[in-house]
Symmetry: C2
Subunit: 444 residues, 2 copies
């Protein structure tokens, strides 16, 4: 007769991350460039109080568990508040990517049946264009100081974010939800067809953030200052708004200004030592630094993903004293699947060999498994030569798309285990290092 | 209506750690000093195959899920095999601490109703003494090469470990157990009364190992070589046999030889860069190094726990180039609750201030919460002055003792949340740093 362990049973919840940050790192700061233009500083303790006020406001507005609440916003404090408040009450934070076309956004909002949409003033013209085609959205909320609301409103009945939460109490007890409930929703586009939704659970999100905080991945610490340049509308900024609060790291948010000079200034002022973003962002920053003969006084590590980091860029950052951590993943993977970086004995190799390690996609984090398969589905060997489509499975990997589209990406092996087909073509070396070599043309 | 996330649902299982190590770090090694005297080297791939053979042997012997299987052994490869094989089939690895008195061991074995006991030859006299009083134990298995079995057997019907698994196949599919099932059992003694059992679950153990692998805790990496001097019969060697396999670190096991010269030789030969153990072990090693004018060529970090690390010892290791990570926890906490170590801006402080940080107990890992309470149970402020009994809760904290003893250590707050009373008296500083100041006399 099997026996049950006698350990405490606590659900893995988004709200538990915020509670942890408030209790154990309440004095730590978030520093953010606001859409209003100035720099904001707020402690995790203050953030938690404001988030509870927002939670009360959401509940008072009649928002129910399971309801999809959209955001169209930059990396800001208010966006972090929404992440935690919406998921915390059991509703779903649906981050809209403003880089989609208006037609795609209209499709996505209607597909998700979003009932509320929080947006930054930057996106007012876009909101004006799509609002008439989004009948499910009952509330349009602009994330801006009350005294800075625009004279001309993009939609009828526009609500101000600060007004929305102004009357609410900062006392709120987070419900002990089922950890398998949905917490966030993010649409991703394949090469054909409509964007498809990925519906993350509290459990998958917390496990992913714990995995990302392990030393071989992003490895955030209490004394780190991290700048996620990767947007909060893109796979939850790779989970950094969760991971930073878990360890009590200082979180620096760039708002709408992602150009090299703005990022450099923010990094120097706030003594950022870790940043995360796509290669093009790092190219822009590098150009600014090189053209102006600058150097980084605190920046030491960067997590790069979204597309492959060229060796020339890895080398350029290494020469500026910045260690590159090269991540691979997808929206469907929360997103981190593998991370490649040099450590320990690797650092005794010559530089070219080190860059070659970093430029590959690296090893699977614990919690993620992968395999490569031939056209007929048979598994291929990890000999560093055979290439085939890369399939993945794990605690933070999608099991089906929201709304049931794209079923051909999902398969079961003979042992009954589910796999997700990434669309990437890879080889895997005998030591477990993975390298993307190509992309399938017919990806969904 | 709440919605369920659409991510893969995989249980958090001990067997998934071994599968991960085999697939993604199959070439990595375990190096162990054997009780037979020589050094053994085995890859994770070979370990996984042997563990499957052992699993088949256990099932063939009729061992059922939920059955308690005892071990009395040093840190060796066979002990690792038992950890994974027994938990993997749904039975419970019950590690016996040979430092208990024979009377206590007899009590524990009968209380747990262990059916099988695996032991090292070192403990043959102890086994001979207790065996007549352990009627539930049907199989006594000595972990030794078949040709090195002792002429005189400590028990009737003694089984050899290699014989036990010799006929078994290395093909075995690990069952997809409920993650809340028990995987390991460890007894701990308070200051009065009988030892009490802590029954860990697969979920709690995997989450604890993930937490221990975060950068602010042990922070193990693929390129690390870790030596757990802390015994596998003591709170699962602080989870290192799980955490090392999760990341693919090289695992070095000291066997029965824990003296300074033996540890030093093993560390130098295997290029150990991280080790873990109690302060007395590090004192022994330090004396050997200082008396012989030695230095460490690879040793760079040590996790110390079990009792407080004196500042003099922190300083001595720092001067030898070894960074001290100071952990606090209990058997009832899997064991890691807090870790204290310097990083980032701390390293710009003068040495005395750095040692002062390290000598405290540090911050809670995500997954663990704590509070201090007055005699009447009211929560005390985190002002660095008030001291009170330390209570904890979290994913890897005990909810009740095995067999239902010691209930007065468990309480519920007004919000219905359960807490475990540690028996330690502490203060907590406003930044979340905890410091143990005393120990309650009436601890259970």
């Amino acid at each position: 007769m099997a026996s049950t362990g006698l350990m405490m049973q606590l659900p893995l919840l988004i709200s538990s991350i915020l509670e942890h940050a408030e209790r154990h790192h309440g004095q730590q700061e978030i520093v953010a460039r606001r859409t209003e233009g100035n720099i904001q500083r707020i402690t995790y303790s203050e953030l938690a109080a404001r988030t509870r006020r927002l939670a009360n406001a959401l509940v008072s507005a009649g928002i129910q568990p399971g309801e999809n609440i959209a955001t169209m916003g930059w990396n800001t404090v208010r966006h972090v508040e929404i992440y935690y408040a919406v998921s915390g009450i059991g509703a779903v934070t649906h981050t809209l990517n403003p880089r989609y076309s208006p037609q795609q956004l209209i499709y996505i909002i209607n597909h998700a049946k979003d009932t509320t949409l929080f947006f930054d003033i930057t996106f007012a013209p876009l909101v004006k264009a799509i609002a008439p085609h989004c009948p499910t959205v009952k509330r349009w909320v602009m994330m801006i100081d009350a005294d800075k609301m625009p004279a001309e409103s993009p939609v009828e009945g526009l609500i101000n974010y600060e007004h929305f939460m102004s009357g609410a109490s900062s006392e709120f007890v987070w419900p002990q939800l089922d950890e398998n409930m949905a917490c966030t929703l993010c649409y991703t586009s394949g090469t054909t067809g409509n964007p498809q939704g990925v519906l993350y659970s509290h459990r998958s999100t917390v496990l992913h953030a714990m995995g990302a905080n392990t030393a071989d991945a992003l490895g955030l610490r209490r004394t780190d200052t991290i700048l996620p340049v990767v947007p909060m509308f893109h796979v939850n900024a790779w989970g950094i708004p969760y991971g930073a609060l878990m360890v009590g790291a200082k979180l620096v948010l760039p708002g709408a200004q992602l150009d090299g000079p703005s990022l450099y200034a923010l990094m120097e002022e706030e003594k950022v030592n870790i940043a995360a973003g796509v290669p093009t962002i790092w190219l822009g920053l590098l150009n600014h630094v090189l053209q102006n003969g600058l150097k980084f006084s605190s920046f030491r590590r960067t997590l790069v993903g979204g597309s492959a980091m060229p060796i020339s860029l890895i080398k350029a950052y290494d020469e500026l004293g910045v260690h590159v951590m090269h991540g691979w993943g997808m929206t469907e993977m929360s997103p981190l699947g593998t991370v490649s970086q040099t450590s320990g004995p690797d650092l005794e190799l010559d530089k070219a060999a080190q860059y070659d390690i970093t430029a590959k996609q690296g090893h699977c984090l614990f919690g993620v498994d992968m395999k490569i398969v031939a056209e007929d589905g048979t598994e291929l060997p990890w000999n560093g030569e055979a290439t085939g489509e890369l399939l993945v499975r794990g605690h933070w990997i999608i099991s089906q798309y929201y709304g049931g589209d794209g079923q051909k990406a999902f398969s079961q092996d003979t042992a009954g285990r589910g796999w997700f087909a990434t669309g990437d073509v890879s080889r895997i070396f005998p030591d477990g290092t993975m390298q993307i070599t190509d992309r399938r043309k017919d990806v969904i």
